[in-house]
């Protein structure tokens, strides 16, 4: 890992740390209140705040995880650095697409 990837991985970790805590708090809140899917969707659909919150979460997680997967591949697989990098980019894009799809599903009206 070079310094650029290191900075991106640490920066995205710093972004995710408070988001994870709030995400867990939201889960506790929703379950303790006994909220239904309809209750949740009524709060998230059309909400720019929730779209931004989970959109940022998905972007940070995609970058963070793909850099981590690249490191694992370069150390533990026979792939060259270049191939591991390409695989990691593809993995990051996949996470971003899947995550964005989930965000759209709850925030689009």
């Amino acid at each position: 890992m070079n310094v650029r990837l290191y900075v991106w991985q640490r920066a995205t970790a710093a972004v995710m740390a408070p988001l994870v805590l709030l995400h867990i708090a939201v889960i506790f809140y929703a379950t303790r209140k006994g909220m239904t899917a309809a209750d949740i969707l009524s709060r998230t659909q059309g909400s720019i705040i929730w779209a931004t919150y989970y959109g940022l979460f998905v972007a940070a997680a995609s970058i963070h995880a793909s850099i981590g997967v690249r490191n694992v591949l370069t150390e533990w697989s026979p792939l060259t650095d270049r191939r591991a990098g390409l695989f990691a980019v593809a993995f990051g894009l996949l996470l971003a697409v899947i995550g964005a799809r989930a965000v759209f599903a709850v925030v689009l009206p």
Binding site: M1, N2, V3, L5, Y6, V7, E75, W76
Partner: protein, 240 residues
């Protein structure tokens, strides 16, 4: 009268095997004493490396009961609880023969990490006054006593997994020089350790500082390099 020791020594090259010998147990016996006894009294073809026998030269490191150690300063009583010693060549380095490894990759990585002092003055300049209690000098002094024995390199999981990784000793040397106020190679050195084999590959497992015979802390030095390279990168002084 102490019981004999059972000693298994690695014999041959990469595809060698352990062979077991019986060596008389003595008071204050070091692991190097045991290896030397086998070479002088049982099998003179045994190959191993040592020089000073007092923990200064860094030549005699071997794998002793699974851990890399400086054999001249490792007492048998400390490592052979069961009365058995298994002594092999250092890990993570090519085996030449028996207990001798080829240290070339280890020292090549010192060069790659710019582990060579870059003078900032000539012999015609006045000698620079360095305060021994300045923060930079204290950081430089913290790891100045590295004896290049290769124990940290052999103990490092990241070296095992990533052939390009410079390893704890080379990076600690780079950190020492970065903190040396007389050195002029700072930016080039930061650039060298910020790349793929550099400090950011370290996982901070800390085997290096656990096993360093000089009780140095390469993990802390590498953490310092991570901070210093990150700051330099964000300021645009070095490139990725």
């Amino acid at each position: 009268m102490l019981a004999d020791l059972s000693v298994s020594l690695w014999r041959g090259g990469k595809d060698g095997r352990y062979e077991t010998y019986r060596v008389p147990r003595r008071e204050s016996q070091t692991v190097l004493d045991v290896v030397t006894f086998v070479q002088r009294h049982i099998d003179p073809t045994l190959s191993y490396r040592f020089a000073c026998r007092v923990g200064v030269c860094g030549s005699c490191a071997m794998t002793v009961n699974g851990k890399p150690r400086w054999t001249c300063r490792t007492h048998v009583a400390k490592v052979a609880d069961s009365g058995h010693l298994e002594i092999g060549p250092l890990e993570n380095l090519p085996v030449i023969k028996d207990l001798a490894t080829d240290m070339e990759p280890f020292f090549e990585k010192w060069q790659k990490a710019q582990g060579v002092f870059a003078p900032s003055k000539t012999r015609h300049d006045e000698i620079e006054q360095i305060r021994p209690d300045s923060p930079a000098r204290r950081l430089a002094d913290a790891a100045i006593e590295c004896i290049n024995c290769g124990v940290c390199y052999a103990a490092c999981d990241t070296v095992r997994w990533n052939q390009d990784y410079f390893g704890p000793a080379a990076l600690t040397r780079a950190w020492t020089l970065l903190n040396d106020e007389r050195d002029a190679g700072g930016t080039a050195r930061l650039q060298a350790v910020a790349g793929a084999g550099g400090c950011h590959a370290c996982h901070s497992h800390q085997s290096c500082q656990e096993l360093c015979p000089q009780a140095l802390n390469p993990t802390a030095a590498i953490a310092g390099l991570k901070r210093r390279t990150t700051a330099a990168y964000l300021k645009g002084e070095i490139k990725a």
